[in-house]
């Protein structure tokens, strides 16, 4: 349930490009909205006196207090942390970057490595679920079970497919986004099309499997 007086702002997806999200947070701070957390794929903001602030995002898995202390000492205050990995910081305009002028890609390498195992797991699970459906789904449907059981079974299978595809998209897509970063032009086109292609292929494949 959404709390009254709070504002929920959709996240663009920091895996793809966090700069637009960070600019958005600056604009919202200037309009009198303070970031207080994340909820699902949305930022949660509360009314606050308008402030001129800049925001930065870093990936660091469960850092110790030294990380926060060093950031604070250089003008960057941590606002929120998500999953112990994604940290949003705020600072006064003009504060030098949290990163360095030459090694800004370091944080991407860190998170990229962390995503590799989830990507492999979700790919294997996706393949297994599809394989199981092809293997058992068809013979089962051919047995001419009662209509209601058929309906429940089909819905159940569709639910399973949506679940694994969602898992796959949320691990594979950020991973792909990091892989393609720096290859901006064609990379972005591939990414945008994947957002449409994956759900479309899922639905078509499922319908084909059920009707065939």
């Amino acid at each position: 349930m959404n709390e009254p007086n709070l504002r929920y702002e959709p996240r663009q997806g920091v895996a793809f490009d966090e700069t637009s999200d960070m600019h958005r947070l600056s604009t919202l701070a200037a309009e009198g909205w303070r970031l207080i957390g994340f909820k699902g794929l949305r930022y949660v903001l509360e009314p606050a006196p308008p402030e001129q602030l800049i925001f930065a995002l870093d990936y660091m898995y469960e850092p110790d207090e030294e990380y926060i202390a060093l950031s604070r000492a250089s003008g960057w205050e941590r606002v929120v942390t998500m999953d112990g990995l994604i940290h949003v910081f705020r600072a006064a305009p003009g504060t030098p970057t949290m990163f360095s002028t030459t090694e800004s890609q370091q944080k991407l390498q860190r998170v990229h490595r962390r995503l590799l195992v989830p990507v492999i797991v979700s790919t294997v699970v996706t393949v297994l679920v599809w394989w199981a459906m092809v293997q058992w789904g068809q013979p089962w449907r051919a047995q001419r079970e009662p209509q209601w059981l058929l309906l429940v079974g089909t819905l159940g299978m569709f639910g399973a497919v949506v679940a694994v595809q969602t898992l796959f998209v949320y691990t594979f897509m950020p991973w792909l986004a990091y892989r393609l970063r720096g290859w901006r032009g064609p990379g972005q086109v591939v990414l945008s099309s994947m957002r449409i292609v994956i759900p479309l292929v899922t639905v078509v494949a499922f319908l084909w499997l059920m009707v065939w």
Binding site: A56, D58, M60, P63, D64, E65, E66, Y67, I68, A69, L70, S71, A73, S74, W76, P96, T97, M98, F99, S100, T101, T102, E103, Q106, K107, Q109, R110, R113
Partner: protein, 111 residues
């Protein structure tokens, strides 16, 4: 690519170089940051996120060690291996600069 592998090609990136050099004497992280801010004409800015990550990388690679804690801030110092790598890197950078300077002055290596 492991962090160790990232460092094992023998070259140090600018942040690693500055941080190793700053830790020839023991210092805590914040002191390193202040020291680097005071470098005149410094082109490379080392921010807190880069500093934290690089300190951890260099400790993991055995080029730095933690020798004490002052509250939340830990004290770091260069190891023997770190010193060896720093000396190599200084020589490498010096050779690069000398080559470029000779070239700019119109002199080649064999003259």
């Amino acid at each position: 690519m492991s962090r160790r592998a990232a460092l094992s090609n023998g070259e140090l990136n600018d942040s690693q170089f500055y941080i190793l050099a700053a830790l020839v004497v023991p210092r805590h992280g914040y002191a390193v940051m202040q020291l680097l801010m005071d470098v005149p004409d410094q082109i490379t800015h080392v921010g807190p996120a880069t500093l934290y990550t690089t300190l951890h990388q260099l400790v993991e690679a055995g080029l730095l060690e933690r020798c004490a804690s002052e509250g939340v801030s830990k004290v770091y110092v260069i190891t023997q291996e770190g010193r060896r790598r720093l000396v190599n890197e200084i020589a490498r950078k010096q050779a690069m600069v000398e080559f470029a300077q000779r070239a700019m002055e119109g002199r080649t290596h064999h003259e």
